[in-house]
């Protein structure tokens, strides 16, 4: 029992944080909002150079060969950076799906993911829209109980503009064919289930980062901004708003990290742990958005203030890969099972 990351993992986190801080500012995000896709092929290539898209791609396919425990800290950093590139779809979900499917498909696409030459989007059967379909080269899509891999040229995409210019979702339709089917029945079901958990886990990790960033922005602002001759951050009401966010954030973080461990180790409780993580991390982020906005006063309510870049991220992550009611329902079902093991000593699997 050692609930810590090792030095390499922590070093990588710091490296990625520093890198993202240099590459992605609020200005960069705003710039991307003005583009047609809100995505940057150049940025994606740069991310590939530090290995982000191929983090879960096996080394034999040119990836980093890491697991979700290694990845979770980095995903938190992408959330902190406000990064909207398709890291969740391609790196966190599609890459391990393709690894699971194996064969030629994996051989063909995994190396391209690792080098940043392919973006893969995933349309989960339980979700109405597909994220990042508009920039995908390949899409993993459901048809009945089958899983299909479809080239961008063969799908019809209807974009669904949302409140977050960084969030790009679409309705996608395609003609399912023998040639596109890559799994069916129990195999497909298993792939879809783990895909859902990986997507939700990645969003949870990003939500932690987004929440932390909003706190940082609010602490800086309220320490500078003066009213009645004092920094507004010295007023108890403002302090307590932000302290409440900090409590939620710090008690969400270990839940997310444990979920990463459960996914990486293939624990039977993986789905339960991921749903808990998605729930608490997104609640912290959405609550954080509300509280930090309030602490900013009117300035927070403007397009030009940076806060809303992360506020919209928080809202979007809350909506991605299963909204809270769906995740809460999974938790509820698990603990209300007649033979559920609950109580002291049941948290870790071999206790």
């Amino acid at each position: 029992m050692d609930f810590r990351f090792d030095e390499d993992q922590e070093l990588l986190q710091t490296t990625v944080r520093d890198f993202l801080e240099g590459e992605i500012t609020a200005e960069v995000v705003r710039g991307l909002w003005e583009t047609k896709t809100a995505r940057s092929p150049e940025l994606w290539k740069t991310l590939a150079e530090i290995g982000l898209p191929g983090m879960l791609v096996p080394e034999e396919h040119g990836g980093m060969g890491m697991d979700e425990v290694d990845f979770v800290l980095l995903l938190e950093e992408t959330g902190r950076a406000g990064l909207a590139e398709p890291i969740v779809a391609t790196a966190a979900v599609a890459a391990p799906m393709l690894r699971g499917v194996g064969g030629d498909l994996a051989k063909q696409w995994l190396p391209k993911i690792a080098t940043g030459d392919a973006i893969v989007a995933v349309g989960h059967p339980s979700l109405p829209f597909v994220e990042d379909a508009h920039v995908a080269d390949l899409l993993l899509l459901p048809a009945g109980d089958e899983l299909h891999a479809v080239l961008a040229a063969d799908v019809e995409i209807t974009e669904q503009p949302t409140n977050d210019p960084s969030r790009r979702i679409a309705s996608v339709s395609f003609a399912a064919a023998e040639g596109t089917r890559i799994a069916s029945g129990a195999d497909a079901a298993q792939l879809w289930e783990t895909a859902f958990d990986r997507g939700a886990l990645a969003c949870a990790a990003q939500a932690l980062g987004a929440c932390d960033r909003m706190l940082q922005i609010a602490v800086e602002y309220t320490s500078e901004r003066k009213q009645f001759g004092k920094p507004i951050g010295s007023f108890q009401a403002v302090k307590h708003h932000l302290a409440a966010v900090k409590v939620k954030l710090e008690y969400a973080r270990p839940v997310v990290q444990r979920a990463a461990h459960s996914v990486a180790s293939g624990s039977a409780k993986r789905g339960l742990h991921v749903s808990m993580a998605k729930l608490v991390a997104c609640e912290a982020a959405v609550f954080g958005a509300k509280q930090t906005l309030q602490c900013h006063g009117a300035i927070g309510y403007t397009w030009e203030q940076d806060l809303h870049v992360w506020m919209r991220r928080a809202w979007s992550l809350d909506r991605s890969w299963g909204r809270s009611p769906a995740h809460l329902a999974r938790v509820r079902a698990a603990i209300l099972e007649p033979d559920a093991r609950l109580g002291a000593g049941t948290t870790f699997s071999n206790a």
């Binding site: 979700l127 949302t162 969030r167 009213q227 309030q294 009117a298 309510y301 403007t302 909506r319």
Partner: protein, 385 residues
């Protein structure tokens, strides 16, 4: 206690309902924070004014029909019931109007009120400055007397309707040696004066609901001073805050939102958790409570009562209720909750997303809810400063 309307009140309601039913546009107007929407809203206000309904509680000579506050509540109920457009000139008719009524000279009343009622002149609120937000007394924009003009220099911000309005009102420091609440004068200024620059600010919905207004040696005639020189703070503060709040946040607005929320829930009940149902019911109760408290207060005011710090209770209650209703609506809309109205899958989403973004500002503007809680604890509960 009599909780029924009189025959006269019922008659007034029927008249308003009939007129609104015949005149309210069938199609919703665009937002008045767009150029096209501003034009549409001015046209609507002209029709409203033509019917004599632009500002029912004002005296007839200023474009009103001399109604009392209760009739105003009834009119608002009918206005929302009819689904009539938002009021583009709300800063003028609801905020500045009552102040001019109390402090204006006869000439000022005749000059400003009729064109305000008709929205020929749309008013821009100039309360805030970069260093005067919740701390409204920290005003630094100066207006120095020079003969029969003030020379104005400085900057106002969060000037709502600034992008498409005509006149600005606010407090300016006329005594440069003064501090805080002293030495301020309430001044009205047309935005087309030389030296004024208006820079729209995009808000969370991407529209320029606010503007920054820069003054560079702007010459404003002294006849546009409202109240006495150096008494700006008193002018701004002493008028009945409640009446203003009532105008802007009449119960009808929240009852209408609550009704739409219940309907939204009904339409989507099969897809949402049962727990939502209770929250919807609580919101509806909230809108009823707000209505009842408003009628109670208006009854008191009509009988000669006064209202003071109680308006801080009001501010917190409506702003929290409004935000909660919009949060719930997005929750009910589920996966469709963040779609823009133009999205192909956005059928049935209505204007809840826009409403939510607006509702988020409720606990912030017109004095943050933190400031209101200070006022409640110190002035209503008598807790130590």
């Amino acid at each position: 206690m009599d909780l029924t309307f009189t025959r006269e009140q019922d008659g007034f309601r029927a008249e308003a309902r009939a007129w609104l039913g015949a005149h309210v546009p069938g199609e919703p107007l665009r937002s008045f924070d767009t150029a096209e929407g501003a034009k549409q809203h001015r046209e609507w206000e002209a029709i409203l004014n033509g019917g004599g309904w632009a500002m029912v509680p004002w005296p007839v000579e200023y474009g009103g029909r001399g109604a009392n506050l209760l009739e105003w509540l009834i009119f608002e109920e009918e206005y929302y019931r009819a689904g009539a457009p938002k009021r583009i000139n709300q800063n003028g008719i609801f905020l500045l109007g009552p102040t001019i009524m109390e402090y204006g000279t006869p000439e000022q009343k005749a000059r400003f009120l009729p064109k305000m009622a008709s929205s020929e002149e749309v008013w821009v609120q100039g309360w805030s400055e970069p260093n005067a937000g919740s701390d409204m007394a920290n005003i630094q924009t100066t207006a120095i007397r020079d003969g029969d003009h003030f020379i104005v220099n400085g900057q106002k911000t969060w000037a709502s309707r600034g992008a498409f309005g005509d006149w600005l009102f606010g407090m300016f420091r006329t005594d440069p040696e003064s501090e805080r609440h002293k030495g301020l004068t309430f001044i009205l200024a047309p935005l087309d004066l030389p030296g004024i620059t208006v820079r729209p600010i995009e808000q969370l919905d991407g529209l320029p609901g606010f503007a920054e207004v820069f003054f560079d040696d702007v010459r404003v005639p002294v006849e546009h001073q409202l109240g006495e020189e150096g008494q700006g703070w008193q002018v701004a503060m002493s008028t009945a805050g409640f009446e203003r709040g009532l105008m802007l946040r009449s119960p009808a607005r929240f009852q209408d939102t609550a009704r739409r929320l219940v309907e939204l829930y009904r339409a989507n009940a099969a897809d949402v958790e049962d727990a939502i149902r209770d929250e919807v019911a609580r919101c509806w109760i909230g809108a009823e409570a707000y209505t009842l408290e408003t009628f109670r207060t208006v009854s008191r005011l009509l009988a000669g009562g006064k209202i003071g710090a109680e308006s801080s209770l009001n501010k917190i209650f409506w702003s929290e209720l409004d935000l909660r209703m919009h949060e719930l609506a997005l929750e009910i809309l589920g996966d469709r909750g963040d779609l823009l109205p133009g999205a192909p899958a956005a059928e049935g989403v209505g204007s809840w997303l826009d409403g939510y973004l607006f509702a988020l500002s409720g606990p912030i503007y017109a004095g943050t809810n933190e400031i209101q809680r200070n006022i409640i604890s110190e002035r209503l509960l008598g807790m130590p400063r």
